[in-house]
Structures are given as C-alpha cells and as structure tokens.
Amino acid sequence: MSQTLMNTKLDQFRSKLTPSKVKIDQTLLDQADAYLNGREFPTRRDEFWKYTRLTKISNLEVNVNASIIQSVPEEAIINPNAQKIVFENGVYRKDLSDDIHQVSGIEFKEKGNSNFKFQEDVFYALNYKYSTDAITIDIESKTILKDPIHLIMISTGQGSVSMPRIAINAAKFSESEFIVSTHDVNSQNCLSNVVIEADVHENAKLTINKIQNEKSSNFSVFNERVDQALNSCFTINTLTLNGSWIRNNVRINVKGQNAETHLMGAYVTNENQHLDNHTLIDHLAPNCQSNELYKGVLDGKSTGVFNGKVFVRKDAQKINAFQSNGNVLLSDDATINSKPELEIYADDVKCSHGSTTGQLDEDAVYYLRTRGLSEKSARHLLVAAFIGDVLEKIEDEHVVKYAENALSKRYGWSF
C-alpha cells in the first residue's frame, strides 16, 4: 500500500509538508487522509481544472522558514481603521496583530477551529491535514461592526507553504466587513492554500473584500465556502491586482429564503500571470436573489479563466440570478477562457448569464485622441473605466482607493 502511495505526485508533494499541529476534529482528519491517500493532483482532464495546470505546485521546493517581518508593511494597510489580524506564511502573528479581544461583539479564538464540514477537494483536504494555523472569529448577534476586520496574509522566504484556515461566524442580525489581502516580502515560489468558511446566519450581513496583490512568483489557492441562512446578505468582492498564479474557488450555499448574494470580481493581469476564478452559487431555497459581475483586463501573455456556475435546485422557486463576465484583451497573446454555467431545476425563476470578450473600442480611442489625449492616456482611461464599473459598486472606499492606487502605480492609470 505504502508503495503505491509514494508513486503519486500528490504523495511526493505531501511528503514535503509538515502535518498540522493545529487542533482539528479527528473525523475530519481521517476524511482528509482517506481522500488524499493514493490520489493524484487533478489534471486538465478534470473539468474543474481544465485550464489550470498544477504541475508547478507539485514540483515546488518546500521550505519551512522562520518568520522575518518586524512590522506590518506599509502596502498591507488598506483601511486604517481596520482591526488587523496578521499571518506570516500562514501562521498567526499575534505580536503584529491588533488586540481583537478588546473589540466588543467579537469573539476571537486562536489555535484551532471546529464545525468544519469535509469538502471533497484536494486543496481543502490538504488544508485540513497540513494547516499552518486556524482561527475562528464570531460576530455576536446584533453586533454592528463599525470598522472592518482585516486579515493580512504575507508570504516571506523561499518555498514557504501557508495553509491557514479561517472560520467566520456571523450571528443573527450582525453586520460586519472583512478585508482579506495577500502580500509578499522577499519571497519566491511560495504556496498559499487558504480556506475561509463563513456562516451567515438569519438576518446577518457579511461582506468580504478580498485583495490579491502579491508581486513575486508565488502560488495562491483561495477556497471560500459560505452558507447563507434566511434573510441574510452576503457579498464577496475579489480584486486581483497582481500575482503570478492564482486560483479562487468561491462556493456559496444559499440555504435560507429571502437571502441576497453579491459576487464581484475585478482582475488585471499582465506578463505571464495566470488567474483562475471559479465561483459556484447553489440556490437551495426559494425567493432569493444573486448578482454576479466579474470584469477583467488581460495584457501580455497572461491567461485568465472565469467559470461561474449557478445552481437553482428543484424547490428553489422565484429565484432571480444574474451573472455577467466581461473581458478586454489588450494583447494578441493574452487568453481568457470564460464559461458561465446555469443549471436550473425549478420552473419559476428569472436567471440570466452572459460573457463578453473583446478588445478596446478603437472608435473610442480615436475619439479621445481627437480631443488631444495621447493614445496611451486614451487606452488607460478606457481600461480604468471598464474595471471602474466593478470598483464603483464596492462600499468600502478605502478598498476602492487602495485598488485604484495599486493599479495606477502598476499601469499608470487614472480613475
């Protein structure tokens, strides 16, 4: 048996990892083990991984590195009022974090979390088995958080592997915002495999603003799984500003009636970047509404994937589900694979989806140039406007400002 184990690339990869010291439910651990044993990394023959290769991840040279950062880097500050929870290489850095225990209405637990449900997926299973840290944040019922909680994830060193697990519990009638951002300091070939699980209870409102801004050759897999109850409202905005290889898996199970779900994404890629956005909204209950808008601009030799799936189950009548993905390709070598999917089993629903891919409107470029704008300014203005359509819908102005600044710094755009 052990003979065959070591024959898969996944097993070879696992042999480089350190089993988790974090407290975890034994059943879950057993399930993760059973799932991983003898299994291979998914290949492009798997529909779910059709456009994203995992070879580079399976070949990573993994190192365990000591922490190096002494303070939170300037560029990781997004909203100055936020309560910061800092992770370096997936390990909670209490010394650099704000004392979140002081904030009323929040219960914060370190070192382990529970209530996870097993998800049949290689990266979930790896995260359970090899988690570098795990925290739980409970927003108590009726708590309305004035300022967001900011999870700052920083990769440092060569070949570090981060596998943090975050549980968010938004209790009844609570309102809260989380910012999750990724950054890097002197790092190369690191892997982050993050799991965020959120329960949005009755009448609760939860927003996650995710900002991906790693500059070096790191790999990043984000797995968000959200359960929504009656009358709840959940929003997740994924802004990919930089990063060489990223896979985002967002799964939302809408279990209660009258729930509202908003998913937005903006991405700008260049050079050899690879970004894969997979989203799934599963409407299990009637009378709900979901709204999805992802827009991206791809330049250089970058490749993008958008796969957005919306399920409407048999009993989920009166669902309004809208999904749209728009892409602009700025170079002949950039690629986008866009696949919107609707699976509807109920008969009284209003659903739509659409995907567009094109170049910048050359008539608009010419029009702006006849007004004295250089070709470069004209293109920047049009690209910024295209992405701006998503940014302007984000409520946290600090998040919007941060994204705009990062993009103007990288591309010289003005918003």
Binding site: D361, D363, A364, Y366, Y367, L368, R369, T370, R371, G372, L373, S374, E375, S377, L381, L382, A384, A385, F386, G388, D389, S414
Partner: protein
Amino acid sequence: MKTLINIKDLHASINGKEILKGLNLEVKPGEIHAVMGPNGAGKSTLASVLAGREEYEITEGTVDFDGKDLLELSTEDRAREGLFLAFQYPVEIPGVSNVNFLRTALNEIREYNGQEQISAKDFMALVREKSTLVELDSKLASRSVNEGFSGGEKKRNEIFQMAMLQPKLAILDETDSGLDIDALRIVANGVNKLKTPENGAIVITHYQRLLDYIVPDFVHVLYDGKIVKSGSKELALELEEKGYDWIKEELEKAH
C-alpha cells in the same frame, strides 16, 4: 494675410478606393467655410482625413495647418495644435466622464504647448462657463461621454467640448444631421458665440438649413472628391432650390 489651413491637391483613398481626388481649400482666420455636397462626394472623408483617421491613405497633396505640415502629425498632435472635429456620430464611452477626460485632454494640450496644468478650481469654472454657453445641462457634463444621450444632446456635447478646448479650426461634420429645429438653433448659437477673428470653421453639411443659423463666408460644393464650385452664401440657397443634380449637369456640359 496668413492662412489657418491650406489644403492643396489632396488625394485620399480607403481600401484602395480613391475618395478625395485633388481637393483644394483655404481657410483664413475669422472665416467660416461651408462644404456642401451630395452623399458619397467625400465630405466625411475630408473631415476624417484632416482629423487623422488612420484608415485613410493620403496618396497626394499637402495640408498646411498654421505653418505646420498637418499630415505629418498624429491625431492627438493635430488636436493639440488646435484642430477640432465635431463628429457626425459621436462615440458613446461608458464609464469615462466628460469632465474627467476633458481635464486630461486640456492638460495634455497645455503640456504640449508648454503651458501649466489647469487648476481644479479654474477647470470647474471653465466647465460651468462653457456648459452655459452651449446650454448643456451641467449634469450631462459630468456624465459618461455621450452614454444614453439623445441625438441633440450628443451634438451639444460636441460643441461643449469644442468650447472647452478652444480650437483654432473647428470642423463640424454634418452637425445638423438628426437635429430638430430647437437643437439646431442651440448648436448653431454655440458655434457663433465661439467665433473670434482668430479662429475659423469648416462646416460640412448636406442641407442648407444649418446655414440659416451659421452664416458662412464661403460655400463650396464638393462633388466626386473635388471642390467643383465655390461662392458666397447665396450658392447654398441656389443648391437648396435646384438640388445637386444641377451641379452634375453643369459639370457634364463642361466636359
């Protein structure tokens, strides 16, 4: 007296088909020239070629623009030198606000001409002054460029942009098309108010109607890629009465 623009023997083609076949036109400061002609004569081609649309190939001729070789300049440098084209079909640009792009445009024009950037305060004052001049709702000034504008609003927005950029030479390409009489009067008023002894305009139109409001100093008839007849504003009236067939017949007789 100096000329603003001097077009000599201009030949231009698109996809190998010659549209302009030796066009001559000279505009001096303070003058308004109307260019009229039947469909397909090359009126819009003339506007596009002067503005620098890259699809057209210039095969012969010269265009001197206030001492510069216009044909050597990029589209944006033509604008920066003071050429303005009011489009027949203004482009809708979702997400780009009028004022935002005009501030960028104005500042790039200023930079080109070695002038300082305009302050935010002065810019907004200019927006208010010029939008009033062309009776453009200030809300439209800050909305996305032409997005969801009516035909009349789009044309008014063209004149607003012209007012903001204060060009030496404005080319109005069928600005009257699709306008009702009220919109036409507002647009024409705007153009008249912007007229100075230093600047000039080429007003391209199919119908004489616009010329009741924008009174030209000269009227030219463009036919088959050439100016075939020039005269005073009375020529426009004659054209209106007799139609373009009269020009065709005259030309045929001459051959």
